[in-house]
């Protein structure tokens, strides 16, 4: 079975007037099913660009990106949108929930775009909310919830299509230490008990400590790629 993600010689270059800025200077990486990988690095290291390309929100300038064995370069914009709605889950630092929209409807959103009927959407959404422990908040609006609760809604939303990969971009950046730990434990659980593949982007060692493997970026290249022997729990 092919890896979830396999990139070879991945480059991303932004034109800047006559000059150009190299965000990724040839990255090789494979993420196997069931991995929990943390991508670290200072700002400007290329880790966010990497996540955007892996998440099909952006295209690489050159290099190969195989997602579940398929060449992403050959996907049209619509096909990439379809993969995002069916095979990928996103969790963002700022939760990105729709305002004035109930938790349940927020969780259902990816399934709306995947074209699932509303009955089924509701059942799946409630099941995933149960997993992340916020089923009781289904009817609440985002502004009635704490940051931790909102991030759990976002995590439930990322789970609804049983994604091949969850991309978490600084998921704890807006949370306090205790809540951060709770959220990271949730990711660990999801990875350990439900075999969900997770790629976490962070610059905080405390947060990266929950992952099984830590990849560090610097100046658009992978500086190190090591298993995490001292996992936090």
């Amino acid at each position: 079975m092919s890896d979830v993600v396999e990139v070879r010689g991945l480059r991303k270059v932004y034109p800047m007037g006559d000059d150009e800025v190299v965000a990724l200077g040839g990255v090789d990486l494979a993420i196997a099913r069931g991995e929990f990988i943390a991508v670290m690095g200072p700002s400007g290291s290329g880790k966010s660009t990497f996540m955007q390309i892996v998440g099909m929100l952006d295209r690489a300038t050159s290099g190969t990106y195989l997602f579940e064995g398929n060449d992403v370069a050959k996907f049209s914009d619509d096909e990439r949108a379809d993969v995002r709605s069916r095979r990928l889950g996103f969790v963002f630092q700022s939760y990105n929930l729709l305002p004035r929209t109930s938790a349940l409807e927020n969780v259902e959103l990816p399934m709306v775009y995947a074209g699932l009927p509303s009955e089924k959407r509701r059942d799946i959404a409630l099941a995933k909310m149960d997993i992340v422990g916020i089923k009781a908040l289904a009817d609440h609006m985002p502004n009635q919830m704490s940051g931790g609760q909102q991030q759990r809604i976002a995590i439930a939303r990322s789970l609804v299509n049983d994604p091949a990969l969850i991309l978490a971009d600084e998921p704890t950046g807006a949370l306090d230490t205790k809540t951060s730990r709770d959220v990271m434990r949730l990711f660990s659980d999801l990875n350990a008990h439900r075999n969900i593949t997770i790629m976490l982007v962070t610059h905080e060692p405390d947060v990266a400590a929950f992952a099984k493997r830590i990849v560090t970026f610097r100046d658009g290249h992978i500086l190190s790629d090591v298993p995490n022997l001292e996992r936090a729990a």
Binding site: R84, S94, N96, R100, V112
Partner: protein, 405 residues
Amino acid sequence: MNLRATLRLAVQALVRNKVRSLLTMLGIVIGVAAVIITVAIGAGARVSVQQSIASLGSNLIVVQPGSVTQGGVRTGFGGASTLTPQDGPAVAQLPGVAAVSPIVSVHSQVVAGGNNWQTQITGVAPTYTYIKAWPLASGRFLSESDVASIAKVAVLGQTVVSQLFPNGSSPIGKTIIIKGSPFTVIGTLTAMGQSGMGQDQDDVVLIPYSSAMERLTGLTTVNLLLISATTAAQVNPVQTEVTALLARRHRIVPPQPYDFQVRNLQAFAQAASSTGTVMELLLAGVAAVSLLVGGIGIMNIMMVSVTERTREIGLRMAVGARARTILNQFLTESIVLSTIGGAIGVIVGLLGTVLVAQLAKWPTLIPPGWIFASVGFSAMVGIFFGYYPAQKAAHLSPIEALRFE
């Protein structure tokens, strides 16, 4: 994404911003209501113009004497003296003819007491007020016995009344002198105003046509025959019948030219009616401008909405919305706004029309086609003005949209 799901997304988004949605709609509401009200007033005015033209004689048929040639010089129509008062009763027998009046016109000075006035003296039959739909203001009109007895009686138009009797006293029973003959005033006509040609129709003295022939022209012929057909549809058949009848009576054998000419006023009525239509379109055009402004309002708000919801759009894209789906959602939002606004506008417009009709006592008429047209047009406004903002939303880069503060 099917239509229902898109509609649901759009309505959800609109409901989330109730006040803004309502304010945006207001522009379209006012625009559509303005269209409906102005069109209703315009159409009402056109219909009332048509009605007054009909009463002025759209059923009217005019017979003029033909042209004569004397020494190689041809006079125009009316130059010949070929119509006799006896043609009148003969024409009156034809089916579809409601009334006939011979007309004898003379321009003359009229004297009453110390005042004199140069005016039109028209010899007519008692049917004249019926044919012209011209009610009396006071007294009585000419009778058959006045015609038979060549009576020296007169009915005055309002302009003549004010010129000859400036002190406001009633002219009824007073004597006026026309070409040396004393006539007794038996009645006055209501004010008719200007004719379509700008003539003062009230500057007239009506007397029996027999008296006009006997005492003023001294001729045995009349200037015109005025014929009123029973209905507008009868005008053309009657015109044909009259032509045939007069040809027989005047013993005209083809290829001899007719010594008379028969015309009707329907062309004039059509011209007046098309003037009304132009007026109506002009009003609707003005109203359409306000609808346009409403549409620009929608575009404005949709642009703000797209900017404000940039992160939302980014998120929707991240969780799998295609560009097309985003475009459809925003487009649907603006169509829903403008269509609901249009529907409310129709209701407001109808109420406003009723109000105008009641308070200003203006004639109004709402052509049903305009109701559908204005709702349809407002939906088009939604598409037209919603497209650019929707396009802008759909072409956002998801990364930049998600990063947008």
